[in-house]
């Protein structure tokens, strides 16, 4: 049995499901912060295995979905600057800004290229020394270290045509914003596995300490998620909130110090604009002044016109966990993966896309 298969073993899954069913008495609402978790949960059909007492809510953990329309419009304007090669993670090109998307810009002649890593964007810059190469830095604490490392490499090599447009965001401040808004009562949080590999499980200590909410850090295999749900159900039943790390093969209490140091060296913490949450203090990463020559926001004057507000779209409420995707009146009618209204239906990590793609069996 491979490592992956061990975390997909049907017998082991049945044992954990039975324990969840035996332990769960009072109704609990658990939020999975991470869009990757939402997808895994639905793809493996986990809701169909859980008792009615357990309600899973998606959180704001889809990096593309929380990117503000203003930032997207700005990125599209950068792509339209003559000679610029805009490099981006794949999903981003489909997400609509307030008027168009990067895919539209690409179809209209902008040079938009999909890369898997910012280091590939760096390679594009080396191969095209006479053209500015902008990397669209979206994502949380997971992608920020790679982007930081690309900037440090560009600096060391003296590359003068590589730029980063940072819309990076930090996850604990977003969680605080959701809890402080008080719109949705949560009994537990499934902590993001990859993010926490970088920031460390201690970064979530404030959840039990200040909000009396248990937190279980989970991986992305079905047994990881079931074990995290079991841990949260137990802590909620026992009224004994703490941090449970069910992804110990990847996550340490202190995280990954080298990755954190790279982030800190290149980026400074600043307020950030989140789609759905508005401006959240100390929740974003901007390029530090000493690396300003790599900062596309600073170097290019491309300024898009003011962003438009989409009508009827309730992605904001979905991202705050207030609304479950099927509860949105547009879901599956006016808004489908084929004709998406909001980003949550577009992104592969978006909650609406996941609920639509992997919807449960009709009863």
């Amino acid at each position: 049995m491979t490592l992956t298969e061990r975390f997909r073993d049907p017998e082991a899954a049945r044992v954990v499901v039975d324990r969840i069913r035996a332990r769960s008495n009072r109704p609990v609402r658990l939020m999975e912060f991470c869009g990757g978790h939402t997808h895994a949960i639905l793809r493996f059909g986990i809701p169909s295995l859980l008792p009615d007492t357990v309600d899973l809510r998606s959180g704001p953990g889809c990096p593309l979905c929380v990117t503000s329309a203003e930032d997207l419009d700005h990125a599209i304007a950068l792509a339209e600057v003559p000679d610029v090669i805009l490099t981006t993670f794949g999903d981003m090109i489909r997400v609509p800004g307030s008027r168009t998307s990067l895919a539209d810009a690409k179809a209209n002649g902008a040079d938009v290229r999909v890369v898997y890593s910012p280091l590939d964007a760096l390679q594009t810059a080396r191969q095209n020394p006479h053209r500015p190469v902008v990397f669209l830095g979206v994502g949380f604490e997971t992608t920020a270290p790679m982007v930081a490392s690309a900037v440090l490499t560009a600096d060391a090599e003296g590359l003068d045509n590589f730029f980063v447009f940072s819309t990076h965001k930090l996850t604990p401040p977003a969680t605080v914003a959701i809890l402080n808004a008080g719109e949705v009562a949560l009994d537990g949080i499934i902590g993001p596995g990859h993010v926490t590999t970088v920031i460390g499980s201690d970064a979530w200590r404030f959840l039990p300490d200040e909000y009396a909410i248990p937190c279980a850090i989970a991986g992305f295999e079905p047994l990881d998620l079931l074990r995290a749900i079991l841990a949260l159900v137990q802590m909620a039943e026992d009224e004994d909130p703490t941090i449970s790390n069910t992804y110990a093969r990847s996550v340490r209490a202190e995280g990954n110090p080298a990755a954190r140091q790279a982030i800190d060296q290149v980026f400074a913490v600043a307020a950030a604009e989140w789609r759905g949450l508005g401006t959240v203090p100390r929740s974003g990463l901007q390029v530090r002044e000493v690396f300003r020559r790599f900062d596309a926001r600073y170097v290019f004057s491309a300024a898009p016109p003011p962003s438009l507000r989409p009508s009827g779209c309730r992605c904001g409420e979905v991202l705050r966990g207030v609304l479950s995707p099927p509860e949105c009146p547009l879901f599956g009618n006016a808004c489908t993966p084929r004709n998406p209204v909001g980003p949550c239906m577009v992104s592969a990590e978006g909650a609406c896309a996941a609920y639509h793609q992997y919807r449960g069996w009709p009863s």
Binding site: T4, H39, R43, I46, R94, Q123, F220, A348, P362
Partner: protein, 337 residues
């Protein structure tokens, strides 16, 4: 001067004739092509043949990928489309759109590989065409192939023929082609030993039909993967399909790459696999026939057809959960987190 395609190679003059003679005529030679007529005149063996006709254009990037290239793919793809009617593919046409600047060595490699693929599949390329477009107006090379085959007497296969109670078979592992090609794409490259499964399936179809002549549907899950193929069959036949995800063969390298990039293997392309829908009384014979053929060694029974939920494909997941298998959308793009 570098040995590359120039606009003159498509201009209809001597340069073009030289190219055709040098690059195409010898490797692809057969009695029909040799006539160099404006059209090939072919004679079927049967008196009242039913023909299966298909055409497809090939635009793969990179042109040469682990386990194949655009040439072998252009033969396999069209041979397979013809074979999915249960037909015996006989003749292909091939039309090349070449980009100015393409290296002649690459073109020769591709044509040679087409010739080998055609010979292996037992088909002849009987007509062809070449055009050259200006640099920047094509991805090196596009190929269109059309294919003609003859449907054996008594064979009735179509996407609308699935019946409740039928058994769903899959001829082997899924996702090999999509992941092998992606692993070599600029900007997305990663290390893997994986090869494309690109292969002609007409031999496998022939073995299958001699053991299980009542097969209702055949479909090769190319773009959109198994998820798209099953959805199309469910919709066209107005039936429901239920599959067990745990029974679908997936190579560990494909599973790992899909995990890394956030893809569902069910939506990744294949070029040498087929879905078989067969009445229950022939299911066992069909599985045995597939297993006996080199291209069907990993064949598996993956589900069944039902009159519940017509048009919907449902899956029982590996851990016993349930979910819908939806029609995938557009291009596969790697996830961020």
């Amino acid at each position: 001067m570098k040995d590359v395609i120039r606009l003159a190679h498509g201009a209809g003059g001597k340069t073009m004739n030289d190219l055709i003679r040098e690059v195409f005529a010898t490797p692809l030679d057969n009695r029909y092509l040799r006539q160099m007529a404006d059209s090939a005149v072919v004679e079927p063996e049967h008196r009242n043949p039913r023909f299966a006709i298909s055409t497809d254009s090939y635009t793969v990037r990179p042109l040469i990928f682990p386990g194949g290239d655009i040439g072998s793919l252009a033969v396999h793809g069209t041979v397979n489309d013809v074979a999915m009617s249960g037909a015996r593919p006989l003749w292909l046409t091939a039309s090349f759109i070449l980009e100015e600047g393409l290296s002649i060595a690459t073109l020769k490699h591709v044509v040679q590989s087409m010739a080998e693929a055609a010979q292996e599949a037992g088909v002849q390329i009987v007509a062809g065409d070449t055009k050259v477009v200006e640099r920047g107006h094509g991805d090196g090379m596009y190929i269109n192939t059309a294919g003609v085959g003859v449907v054996p007497e008594g064979v009735m296969i179509g996407p609308d023929r699935a019946q409740p109670g039928d058994v769903v078979l899959l001829s082997g592992t899924i996702g090999d082609h999509g992941i092998a090609v992606l692993s070599k794409r600029e900007g997305l490259a990663f290390e893997t030993d994986l090869l494309s499964d690109s292969a002609a399936l007409n031999g496998l179809v022939e073995s299958l039909l001699s053991a299980a002549p009542l097969v209702h549907c055949l479909r090769d899950p190319t773009r959109g993967g198994l998820a798209a193929a099953l959805n199309e069959l469910a919709e066209t036949s107005r039936v429901g399909i239920e599959i067990e995800e745990g029974r679908i063969p997936v190579r560990p390298a494909v599973a790992a790459a899909c995990e890394m990039m956030g893809f569902d293997p069910l939506t990744v392309a294949n070029e040498g696999k087929m879905v078989v829908i067969v009445p229950p009384q022939e299911a066992q014979a069909a599985v045995e026939a597939l297993h006996a053929h080199p291209l069907g060694q990993n064949a598996a029974r993956i589900g069944f057809v039902t009159d519940d939920h017509p048009g919907l494909v449902l899956a029982r997941t590996g851990i016993g959960g349930r979910r819908v298998v939806d029609m995938p959308l557009g291009e596969l793009l790697p996830r961020i987190c």
